[in-house]
């Protein structure tokens, strides 16, 4: 059947994306959750720009966070950006559902529809002011800045217990397991970036929404310190990483990377619940592949002059200005905050930009190490893309129409099988869901429910087939052994 692309539909895979890779330390008692983080990593040469999304919920006076950083950051290395950039990157690179429409073979017709485009820009920088001081414990406050609504301290420490005491004496509540994590960082000469909200600046904020912090530094290390973030988190945490480079994809070097399954035909009814479908799929694949790995969800060349930044587009591709906001400093002809460090890679007019979206679900047991990355020259495009196909409408009584209906049935069976293998659910569950939900009283669901019945029977006989195969092979091997024993072969 001829199919025509109708439209791309964005369904956000995770409804609540928030928090980041450092860890929240609470000034008041209470549980702060950071289950899903979003981070933008812009990297070229030795320079990295890290932007951490902040979706802290609660009294902003209680907010504080600690991030290990490889070098002593200067004031110009820290800035605050508008949170919209994360939404933009997420919308642009989310796993996508595309719809195709079958053409009625008895009465061909064509549908077509396009996405709307809109542009949104934002860059904000704030200047510093004096911040509070503290001393002792083998902890040195190497720098303190006021950036936007944040009071920022850069701490250097001699030993973790001192750092821990300093933090708790200054009213920060530190998770108990943090010390085992702090010590290796101190020994690796990492500095600690401590941010909390400046009450005066915070009152000026509209609706108390904290903005993402962006830091930049030059270092051979290209790591994301997730270990610290595990300190106050229970269970699995999700991390979505948006990588921006000039060369190509980023990939994880100390864990396996695999592509999330893509380009699969799935049943039409999944359209209504694509978000749930994708989170089931992710969970199943994650379990199936052994948990300690990173999934690739999107990879595309988004160089500003590249005319095709996605296919299909589910969100507007980020503009050059947005990429600059996200930390891709090379897109600006002049450097963005006057780096005088000769080690810094200054923009040279080459504004190639490659976008990678990785999704990691981590926990303490499966991820003993921080995520280490490398920039590869791999510029192959990739997207997590799932396809639903609407059946043809109208009179299908012609010969071609009857053939089409037969094929449709076979295709639905295939789609159901695909759904089962992607999400790891079993046929009985799906059939129950199909028939029980009120929303399912539409034609496609019923059609699938019928096919599901047949499919269930088939998979049962297939199971018997496999058993038969095992018996036959055992028999063959046995008889071959017998003949060999008798010296006949």
């Amino acid at each position: 059947m001829k199919k025509i692309l109708m439209a791309g539909i964005l369904v956000s895979c995770s409804t609540s994306l928030f928090a980041f890779c450092g860890f929240y330390v609470s000034k008041a008692s209470g549980t702060l959750s950071n289950k899903t983080s979003q981070v933008i990593l812009a990297r070229d040469g030795r320079k990295t720009v890290v932007t951490m999304y902040n979706d802290f919920k609660g009294n902003i006076r209680d907010f504080a966070m600690v991030i290990p950083v490889p070098v002593l950051l200067q004031k110009k290395d820290i800035r605050v950006v508008e949170p919209g950039i994360f939404q933009r990157l997420n919308d642009y690179s989310s796993p996508r559902l595309v719809e195709y429409y079958d053409v009625n073979p008895c009465m061909p017709r064509v549908y077509e529809k396009d996405d709307l485009m809109s542009v949104q820009e934002s860059v904000v920088m704030k200047s510093p002011k004096a911040a509070p001081t503290a001393r002792g414990y083998g902890v040195t406050i190497e720098a303190q800045y006021l950036v936007g609504e944040y009071d920022i301290l850069i701490l250097g420490a001699k030993e973790s217990s001192g750092l821990q005491r300093w933090l708790s004496d200054n009213g920060y509540k530190i998770p108990e397991s943090a010390e085992e994590v702090l010590e290796p960082y101190i020994k690796s000469n990492l500095k600690f970036f401590v941010a909390k909200v400046n009450p005066k600046q915070a009152t000026a904020l509209n609706n108390g929404f904290l903005r993402p912090i962006q830091i930049s530094f030059a270092s051979e290390k290209f790591i994301l310190p997730i270990r610290l973030g595990m300190a106050n988190a229970d269970g699995d945490q999700d991390l979505v990483i948006y990588g921006l480079t000039r060369r190509g994809r980023i990939e994880c070097t100390n864990y396996r990377n695999i592509d999330i399954p893509s380009d699969r035909n799935i049943p039409l009814f999944v359209k209504k619940n694509f978000g749930a479908f994708y989170s089931n799929l992710f969970q199943h694949q994650w379990n199936n592949e052994g948990r300690n790995l990173a999934f690739l969800e999107y990879a595309w060349d988004i160089t500003p002059i590249n005319p095709m930044k996605c296919d299909p587009c589910v969100g507007n591709p980020p503009t050059q200005q947005e990429l600059l906001t996200a930390g891709a400093w090379w897109l600006k002809q002049a450097d963005w905050s006057d780096y005088s460090d000769p080690d810094m890679d200054l923009p040279d007019g080459n504004n190639q930009t490659f976008f990678t979206r990785m999704h990691v679900r981590y926990n303490r047991n499966d991820f003993p190490q921080d995520l280490a990355f490398q920039v590869t020259p791999n510029r192959n495009h990739y997207q997590a893309r799932y396809i639903v196909t609407h059946p043809a409408n109208g009179d299908l009584s012609c010969d071609e129409g009857r053939t089409y209906l037969r094929e449709l049935k076979a295709r639905r069976k295939k789609e159901l099988r695909q759904l089962l293998s992607l999400t790891g659910t079993n046929m009985h569950n799906w059939q129950k869901d199909l028939l029980s939900s009120d929303a399912a009283r539409h034609e496609p669901e019923i059609a699938y429910a019928h096919v599901a019945d047949e499919l269930k029977n088939e998979t049962e006989t297939e199971g018997q087939g496999a058993g038969m195969m095992a018996w036959v092979s055992a028999l063959m091997i046995g008889s071959a052994g017998f003949l060999r024993w008798k010296g006949m072969i």
Binding site: E183, E220, R256, G290, P368, P377
Partner: protein, 295 residues
Amino acid sequence: MRNQLFFMQPFTPDARIFQVLFQSIFLIYGTVYLEWAQRSWLYAVYIATAIITQLICEAWLRKHIAKPWEARWWKLTLPGLPSALITAMGLCLFLQTNHTTIAIAAAMLGITAKYFIRIRGKHIFNPSALGIVAAVWLTGEAWVNPGQWGNGFVQFSGALILGIIVVTRVQKLDISLAFLFTYIAASFIRQVLYLQWPSDFFYQSVSTGTLLVFSFFMISDPKTTPDHPIARIIWGIMVGLLGFWLHSFEYINGAPVLALVLLQPFVPLFDMICRSSRFQWNRLPVQHVHAHIHH
């Protein structure tokens, strides 16, 4: 001494066949189970290029002895083909690129260097390691990912056991173990004793398949390592230390491969200082073949 370790000699004439076999098992495991499928087109390129280059080099070398259309030429040439396959397999297991030309160049460089970069009749560079290093660090359009193996215990033990079998059969376990112990010990000292990471952090960094495949299938190549037993151990330790340093302090991915290539020019030096009998892949019937190559 040498014959004691050749207890399996009667079964197979050439340990390289086994090595190719084990490398193929790892390759199939990686492609099917670890889903490296997206680069499987490279395998054909590496294998074809390696074999063709080897045949061309052999034809050139033997042009005064026999011609490729003579049966005698093939009799002399065929026993060398497992080496080309090992090189190709090494490239398949490590080197990723999106460009066919780079894949071809890497395989060609590895094989030709084997024939033409020689000191006292012994080639200097491990063909696949040289191909990898040149492709990654000279072209910038290829890469090595140490994380590609994950950290499954099965492959850990599998690589260990299979590797030991292969290496034992060509009596070169010493160098693999010297390298591996050095690397693991250095990692342990730095990560656990000095930085005080928990032990699973350390386990994660040494249980990677890349390290084990490198130890048992790349550094173990008897043709590009010193001949003298003591020199071999020292050299293995040197590769381990340099590889560890490049990995831990220079943040280089695929550091052991780079360390190997950087240290291989010192092998002739070791051979000069400590003289010992030269290794031959297959001493009985093929010895005269190598004699031809060497001179």
